[in-house]
């Protein structure tokens, strides 16, 4: 596709369950970012991948959060033992060579009951 694709677009889960969110970046983009956007809050950085370099995980809020990027392309964000405070829109973005011109997907809205 032409843009960044995220799935699912909406996910409702029960507290304590694990969830996986997927991101398919723009072909050829070497940098991939995950951000979280809560109601009334700004975008909160979670994790950054650049090529084959070690990812910057400094934004992950707890060890329940993890992410991987396979083959330099698709990325999966996993949240284990979900809590109500994890409810938010999770946004993925990609860019060419970490230029700062990010192309965002439409996000995955997570609701934890």
């Amino acid at each position: 596709g032409a843009g960044v694709s995220q799935s699912p677009s909406n996910k409702v889960t029960e507290k304590g369950k694990d969830v996986e969110l997927r991101c398919d970046p723009i072909s050829g983009h070497t940098a991939l970012y995950w951000y979280r956007q809560s109601l009334g809050q700004g975008l909160e950085f979670l994790i950054y991948f650049q090529g084959n370099s070690a990812p910057d995980k400094s934004g992950l809020p707890s060890d329940r959060f993890s992410a991987e990027r396979t083959g330099g392309s698709v990325s999966t964000l996993t949240i284990q033992r979900t809590q109500q405070e994890d409810s938010a829109v999770y946004l993925c973005a990609s860019s060419l060579h970490s230029t700062g011109e990010l192309f965002f997907g439409e996000g995955s809205r997570l609701t934890v009951l």
Partner: protein
């Protein structure tokens, strides 16, 4: 720690009424300052990159400017379709951190016909 503060939080304008949005920032070595537009239920869309004080960029009714401490997004004769949340972000220079972007909370602009 990089910080971005945007003001006002919300702005209502009559169609054709020009105004400016402010973005104040502190960063340990600026690599770039970015403006994004976000429509409800969508991911942010890139507008401008500014690299150094004194630089200006224009696109249709929007003009972005940069000083050493802040950036302004000037909106001239806005139309209802300019209604959106405008986000400002900074990226630190190499060696001062990873290539993550730090975002402000945004200014929600409403243009009334």
């Amino acid at each position: 720690e990089d910080q971005v503060t945007q003001s006002p939080e919300a702005l209502r304008l009559q169609e054709g009424e020009s105004s400016s949005l402010n973005c104040s920032y502190t960063v340990s070595g600026l690599r770039g300052l970015f403006w994004y537009r976000q429509d409800p239920g969508k991911g942010p869309e890139f507008l401008f990159t500014l690299y150094s004080a004194g630089e200006e960029k224009e696109k249709e009714r929007l003009k972005a400017t940069l000083t050493k401490k802040e950036s302004f997004l000037h909106i001239t004769a806005p139309k209802p379709e300019d209604s959106a949340t405008y986000l400002c972000a900074v990226q630190a220079s190499p060696g001062a951190g990873s290539y993550q972007l730090t975002f402000g909370k945004g200014t929600k602009l409403s243009v009334i016909p």
